[in-house]
């Protein structure tokens, strides 16, 4: 492999880059060094990119195009990543992941039509890279559209969808065998484009029927798939940096998927071929139009309740994130703590829309780490809590997940908010949550509802607590 000095330099640079990725990943999984980990990985990437420029025999016009392309794509994405709101982070991850998938598919297509002499192993790698990359691309775009609410979060399905998916998968297997076994000529090159098209459609069809609430797991799966696609493309190109980095991501991404699915008590297979949406269409009380009683309250009443409580648990949800109310909630907590109230935050594993998303948002508002409690740590505290303040959280507090076997979210671990002495729910309206199901917590006699934008309600509360 190392046939001249220049190639040796490239290979050594790739090796160094791989070491950077490994340490980057290692640091990324410890809170103290996470940021440095990301920076290390970025340095590794820089080394790998620069080394690739040393490759031999490229047209100078192509060099220019490469630089223009990197500046264009990298510049636009870096700018978008800088200006996007913290609440939109999950969709950004989805869209960049999709772009990576598209890149892998394009690399496979380009490599296949460019190469004249190509071995069986490389052919297999190219076809697989094309399939995985394309599925990851369209799948991620659907996930992006759902999170951005360009598409409804509810499952979108067509009749006999599973049959079409199976058919597409079977067609892909047959076409893969054909493409690999045929001589490398115009026909097999054409077939790869057919594979590309079918894979794109399959990606759409696989993710569209998955409900919005499952999107974090879906993105984790697609992230890991793109890693694999990059690794496989690396096999085809005999590029060890791509193989190592791609495989690292494929593996850690799969493990992360497993951790997230576990947090939601969902099996990964269940998410992909899930019954979540199907069951929701069945017996459970979804939008039956039935008017259940609710108790509405005012900021002043809630302020008194909070100010004279001993123990308050704040349950933040996506509604808080959307309203950008993380600073307001910290102000309220500060105010209460000054009055001697014991304030804790209960963080559901999937609060926000991704595990850890809520921690990031609250950290932005300088909420101390020590006040954040994970579900298992705090669930036993609710019965001794005077007020549970639920801010824009819905499904993660729904007692149906614990008690109602017919509920589509039955079995998902929830925060036992309903065990608190009093519950106050800050919510924009009675609209149902991301999973699209009724939350009986809101109709609990112990619950009072404070309607309005979370940020406005919270600042009203802060003012009222000061006066209380």
């Amino acid at each position: 492999m190392i046939d001249d000095g220049r190639q040796a330099i490239i290979d050594i640079a790739y090796l160094i880059a791989a070491v950077f990725f490994i340490f980057g990943l290692k640091f990324l999984s410890s809170p103290k060094q996470a940021r440095r980990g990301n920076q290390l990985a970025a340095v590794g990437m820089g080394i790998a990119i620069l080394a690739t420029f040393l490759s031999r025999g490229w047209e100078s016009s192509n060099y220019i195009l490469i630089i223009v392309g990197i500046l264009l794509g990298g510049g636009a994405a870096a700018w978008a990543a800088r200006v996007v709101k913290m609440t939109a982070m999950p969709q950004m991850t989805a869209i960049y992941n999709g772009m990576g998938g598209a890149t892998a598919a394009l690399v496979s297509l380009g490599e296949f039509s460019h190469k004249t002499n190509i071995g069986t192993g490389e052919k297999v790698a190219i076809v697989i890279g094309c399939i995985i990359g394309s599925i990851s691309f369209t799948g991620s775009m659907v996930a992006f559209a759902k999170l951005q609410e360009l598409l409804p979060g509810k499952p979108i399905r067509i009749a006999n969808q599973q049959m079409y998916n199976l058919g597409a998968a079977a067609a892909l297997v047959i076409l893969t065998i054909l493409t690999v076994s045929l001589d490398h000529n115009t026909t097999s090159k054409g077939l790869l484009w057919v594979i590309f098209a079918i894979s794109l459609a399959l990606g759409l069809s696989l993710v569209l029927p998955i409900g919005g609430a499952d999107m974090p797991v879906v993105i984790a799966i697609l992230n890991s798939l793109t890693g694999l696609a990059a690794a496989v493309a690396g096999l085809a190109l005999d590029n060890q940096a791509m193989v190592i980095a791609g495989a690292l991501v494929g593996a850690s991404g799969s493990y992360l998927t497993y951790l997230m699915a576990k947090a939601m008590n969902r099996s990964v297979l269940n998410v992909i071929f899930g019954s979540w949406g199907a069951e929701a269409a069945g017996g459970s009380p979804v939008g039956t139009g039935e008017q259940l009683p609710i108790r509405e309250t005012t900021a002043d009443d809630v302020a008194v309740q909070l100010a004279y409580a001993n123990k308050v648990i704040i349950v933040p949800g996506y509604g808080l994130a959307v309203a950008q109310a993380q600073h307001a909630v910290r102000e309220l907590a500060d105010e209460l703590q000054e009055r001697g109230v014991d304030v804790k935050y209960a963080i559901h594993p999937v609060a926000g829309r991704m595990p850890g998303h809520m921690n990031v948002l609250l950290a932005e508002a300088n909420v101390p780490y020590e006040d954040l409690y994970e579900m298992e740590q705090i669930n036993d505290d609710f019965p001794s809590t005077d007020v549970a303040l639920v801010i824009g959280a819905n499904d993660v507090t729904n007692p149906a997940a614990r008690d109602d076997k017919s509920s589509p979210i039955y079995g998902m671990p929830i925060l036992n908010v309903d065990e608190a002495q009093n519950i106050v729910v800050l919510k924009r309206s009675m609209k149902s949550g991301y999973a699209g199901i009724e939350n009986m917590l809101f109709h609990d006699p112990k619950t009072s509802m404070l309607f309005g934008d979370a940020k406005t309600s919270l600042s009203n509360l802060v003012t009222a607590v000061k006066e209380a």
């Binding site: 990543a81 772009m99 690396g234 940096a241 791609g246 595990p355």
Partner: protein, 102 residues
């Protein structure tokens, strides 16, 4: 004939095990940043785009390669910046003062 692919598969398998080991005990707090960080690392596929575009000898391959480079670069830069922004939030409290900004 496919020796290099075989060698690549060795590397691939070792990296798979390493990848799982490395993030073995990641706290839930870091799940989102970790996903975003790994998202950036698979942007390595940009290298493939560079090779395709570099070796392109028709306008058609140039187009495919160029698209691959643009999208791959977006993956790399976008995801690294997003991750950095997420992790930036974690600094500053119970901190080693001044030590964490380079």
């Amino acid at each position: 004939m496919d020796n290099s692919v075989l060698l690549g598969i060795y590397v691939f398998l070792l990296a798979i095990f390493l990848g799982i080991e490395l993030i073995g005990r990641v706290p839930a707090t870091l799940h989102t940043p970790l996903m975003s960080g790994t998202n950036a690392i698979h942007g390595i596929v940009l290298l493939g785009g560079m090779v395709v575009l570099g070796e392109a000898d028709t306008w058609w391959l140039q187009l495919i390669g160029f698209l691959a480079v643009v999208l791959g670069a977006a993956n790399v830069f976008g995801a690294f910046v997003v991750t950095d922004r997420m992790l930036e939030m974690f600094k500053g409290r119970k901190s080693t003062p001044g030590a964490d900004k380079s």
